[in-house]
Amino acid sequence: MIRFGKPDAKTEHTYFEERLSTYLDGELLPQEQATVEQHLDTCPACQWDLDTLRQTVQWTRDLPTLTVPRVFTVPAPAEPERAARPRWRLVPVMQGATALIALLLFFVVAGDFLLLGNGRQLSAPKPMMVQATAPAGAVEEAPAEEVVMLVETLEVEVPKEVVTVVVTEAEMVVETVVVEVEVAVEVEKVVAEPTQTPAPAAAEPAEPVAEATPIEGARAGTEEPAAEPMAEATSIEDVLVEMEEPTAAEAAAQEMGEAATEAPLLAAPPPGVTEALDAAGGGALTPTMLAPTLRAAVTSTDGAEATELALVPQDEGEPVASRTWGGRGIDWVRVAEYVLGVAFVAFSAGTLVAMLLQRRVL
């Protein structure tokens, strides 16, 4: 039986009452503990509180410890699920990668056919070079038609002086195809003695000219070309006359040279042009597309002794839409197509394997 003495009412009773619980646990600071103990000596009410609290805490601590009704261990996660996790993640990744590669491959191939394909076809023909040279004497004696024949025979002789006419852009009408041609004439004087050694460019035989087809086209073209090229040729004459102002003695020979110049310009859509027109399917070709194939170098002689006629490409061997970089001749679009194709096949196979693994077929 616990007996409590009759407490007295004290000031600051609440203050100490709040600290009795902590005092019971011995958790008060030393100074607070001394103050509480001093107060307890003089305050029966706080002493009663302390005694009843101590008894209550003791009874609570004496509550029996219950035995657990069951074991609370947690179940182990199923091992197969963990093993399967990576495979479940692998399949969507592989599918996404395969789809991405397929998309890239589609765009590259489509772009190759739709955009770069034309450029490749245009650039496919070899450089068009029509260089006709004739001996001075032959040119003097031969009429324009015979000059054409000389071109066909490809007799290369020594030019004396060279007048180069560069046709950067040409305008032609071939059947229904309208080709805009803008003629720019560039005249160069090359001072040379009549007996000088042949110019290196002229000395080289022009292989494309050796092919019969363009020349045949040129022959046929002499009869049916439209009027416009003739007019252009006339302007060439004017320019030549203006710039050169040849002497009377040179005039005859220069006329001979110009006559020779007219022939291929009128008659011969250069081989490159012919194929380009075919490739365009009857559509209009822009001057830019034709530029490289329509550079004609027409040579004449200042001394009226020799004539050279040439159609040379603007950039030797350089395609219009170049797909090669650095001059190494690597077609990067084709390389990309091959790489993407191989990657597509590999990832498709990988996706299939991953799906089979997921379904535990393998």
Binding site: T56, W59, T60, P64, V68, V74
Partner: protein, 207 residues
Amino acid sequence: MDEQALIASACKGDVRAFNQLVLLYQGMAYNVAYRILGDAEVAADATQDAFLSAFKAMPRFRGGSFKSWILRIVTNACYDQLRVKKRRPTSSLDDLTIEADHTSYLRDPAEQPDESVERQELNRMIQAAILALPEEQRVILVLSDVQGLSYQEIAEATGTSLGTVKSRLSRGRARLRDQLVEQGELLPARYRLRGDEKAQSVGGPTR
């Protein structure tokens, strides 16, 4: 394998190591839950939920007192059970009524047969008084006086300050004492807290 090694392994997801820790702490967890909730089945559910939550949270355990960490999860699980109980106030009130009116028919399954009937009555009275405490005071009083945790451990387990632990424990103990004083006539004479003299002199229980 010592406890720190078990904790380290459990943090890496080793369920066997964690279950070793469960066997070490399940008695403490269940007793705390039972004293807070007052029902063996509900306490078992709370304990199981707590250990499942603890296993999921093990990778986030950052050292310190594992006991305090587990007890914090246990008390949170108890709060969850109390919230569920509050959603069904009718059945809860019925349970309390039955417990108050027919305490002699309720037997704590953990009590030993050789304990005196008087002591059993006192224990039931204390448990009922604990359940009558506000939840915050109840949790701290259980952790302190039932489980014997230090103030620091209680502060860690409840996420409160030492000052809060002290004040809530002081009010909880005083309230528990006052209930025992009020119901003293229901107890055997030797378990009565004689508070009538105090009530006359200082105006009765302060809270």
